[in-house]
């Protein structure tokens, strides 16, 4: 479990208060989406989970290990992998397999173990065929998958992803989302920063941040039911929820605490009184 207790962080010398008393618990295997407007502290938050940043006050504990203790930092970084927003800033290897091996090499694992982990990570994200490819010649979607595989090779219990589908075409974005879902089904805890509300709706839990604070925390249906607050913050709702809200406003008796396509379809077909075979 990851526990953040009253975490405060300020960027110097700009003096920007990025986190202002954030408390959060993330259970092992949980799928958590973090949403919020730009500059609300999402990236700063997940950088604390990987000990890239240490709180100026408050505590971060991962698997019972306090992040402040330098002795635990290597273990925490192995337990919480971090996928950066721009894969070009994360990929350091000349070839895909070299890049994926970077983490295990840092753990000083024997060559046979590194090879096994590279093969396993490649297979988990479905890019075994790219092993020998030059990282410079990959597409944006492939680079994201390489970045995820590079983190998986460390065999983390959690993965924090910073807008993993940003700037991708719909097919590539869907492929990344599918991989995230698959990893979650395999028991890896997911902390997923996103501006895409349909992606956030897939999570078990959604945390909404604003000006360095958590303002909403709950199941997607609970969070997206607060449409007025979200819109006031400049956030969009999942399209399904938007549609149901419009229908309700137009006088149709529909529930609006729905974020999934199937549930929405059932509502609408029940309303018009017929179902397609």
């Amino acid at each position: 479990m990851i526990i953040l207790d009253d975490v405060y962080y300020k960027y110097e010398p700009e003096g920007i208060e990025a986190l202002r008393g954030v408390s959060l618990q993330i259970r092992a295997g949980e799928h958590l989406a973090v949403i919020g407007p730009n500059g609300c502290g999402k990236t700063t938050l997940i950088r604390h989970l990987n000990v890239l940043l240490l709180p100026l006050s408050g505590t971060v504990t991962v698997g019972g290990l306090p992040a402040h203790n330098p002795k635990h930092q290597a273990v925490i970084r192995s337990q919480v992998g971090m996928v950066f927003q721009n894969p070009d800033h994360q990929i350091v290897g000349m070839t895909v397999e070299e890049d994926i091996a970077f983490g295990p090499e840092n753990l000083c694992l024997p060559t046979s173990e590194i090879k096994a982990r590279v093969a396993e990570a490649l297979s988990r994200v479905g890019i075994s065929g790219l092993a020998r490819r030059n990282t410079e010649n990959l597409s944006g979607g492939e680079k994201r998958l390489v970045a995820i595989a590079g983190v998986l090779a460390m065999r983390p219990r959690f993965i924090a992803l910073d807008e993993p589908t940003a700037f991708l075409d719909p097919a590539a974005a869907q492929r990344v989302v599918d991989i995230i879902e698959k990893l979650h089904s395999e028991g890896v805890g997911i902390i997923h920063i996103t501006h895409n509300m349909a992606e956030a709706a897939l999570a078990q839990r959604v945390v909404v941040m604003r000006e360095g604070r958590i303002v909403l925390d709950g199941r997607p249906t609970e969070v997206f039911a607060r449409a007025d607050l979200l819109k006031h913050m400049g956030l969009q709702l999942p399209q399904i929820t938007e549609l149901l809200l419009e229908m309700k406003e137009a006088g149709f008796p529909v529930r609006t605490d729905i974020v999934g396509m199937r549930a929405a379809l059932e509502q609408i077909t029940a309303l018009i009184g017929r179902k397609q075979d």
Binding site: R77, D88, V92, T111
Partner: protein, 266 residues
């Protein structure tokens, strides 16, 4: 398009050789070619060229790899032709535009650029047939004894890897900035020297700022993947195989033969 020094995937005996053997061979050859007599240098160079062709290097690639050095080669040749210390020791010097040149100068110039050409071919043969990771592993292997003196051998290997990784990114960044400048109406080829210098300085500053920003991000990403200064293990496993031993024997044999011939000529 082949860039001098890039690795090209391929298959041949040279590709399969242990990178340590290739690195030592290239290093020894580079010293050897500068030290030996001209006639032996000619034979050694031809032997290297044949080995390069057999190893998968085409004449086109050799030509392309030499291309960036043409100006340098021409300059070395001209300097030797016109300013050789042994001017006048051989055939009578001819005067042209108050500069004298002789056959000796030509000969000296030729041998210098031949040796330079051999050095480039040896380097290209090494880098083209050896994956960067293999090359880094070989360098790391030879520097390993320096660990006892607390030399940052592993950090040096990571630095080389990052430099190789960042080089194409920098070139892309440069092209991107140039394209953006053209899109906003800069007509560099037809602008004056002052404008060219201004644009160059502005582009360089932008590229440098981008490099520092990127270096910061990459350092952070490396840290997040548990990178710390000090010892690291490697994906690349260096192991001499049965195909390496005959090549080592062959290289040693020819090395001693050439040394003997060279001594004989001396």
């Amino acid at each position: 398009m082949y860039h001098t020094g890039s690795f090209i995937r391929g298959e041949s005996l040279i590709y399969d050789l242990d990178p340590r053997v290739k690195l030592v061979a290239a290093f020894v050859f580079s010293i050897f070619i500068l030290w030996i007599k001209p006639a032996v240098a000619l034979v050694s160079g031809i032997a290297l060229l044949l080995a390069a062709l057999a190893g998968g290097l085409s004449l086109r690639v050799i030509g392309q790899s030499i291309k960036p050095f043409w100006f340098f080669i021409a300059l070395i040749f001209i300097v030797h032709v016109f300013f050789s210390e042994n001017q006048g020791q051989g055939a009578a010097a001819t005067t042209f535009l108050s500069l004298s040149f002789s056959r000796t100068g030509f000969q000296e110039g030729f041998w210098v650029i031949w040796r330079f050409f051999c050095l480039v071919v040896a380097a290209v043969l090494l880098t083209m047939t050896t994956a960067p990771s293999q090359l880094i592993a070989a360098i790391k292997y030879f520097l390993k004894p320096l660990r006892k003196l607390r030399a940052p051998v592993d950090d040096l290997a990571v630095m080389i890897m990052l430099a190789l990784r960042l080089m194409p990114i920098l070139l892309t960044e440069k092209e991107r900035i140039e394209t953006a400048q053209r899109a906003r109406g800069y007509d560099l080829p037809h602008s004056g020297l002052v404008t060219k210098i201004k644009v160059f300085l502005r582009s360089t500053l932008k590229i440098l700022l981008g490099v520092f920003r990127r270096a910061d991000e990459i350092a952070l990403a490396m840290e997040s993947r548990n990178y710390r200064r000090g010892e690291r293990s490697s994906l690349v496993e260096l192991k001499l195989t049965s195909s390496d031993y005959p090549v080592i024997f062959f290289l040693l044999f020819f090395f001693f033969i050439f040394v003997a011939i060279n001594s004989h000529f001396g």
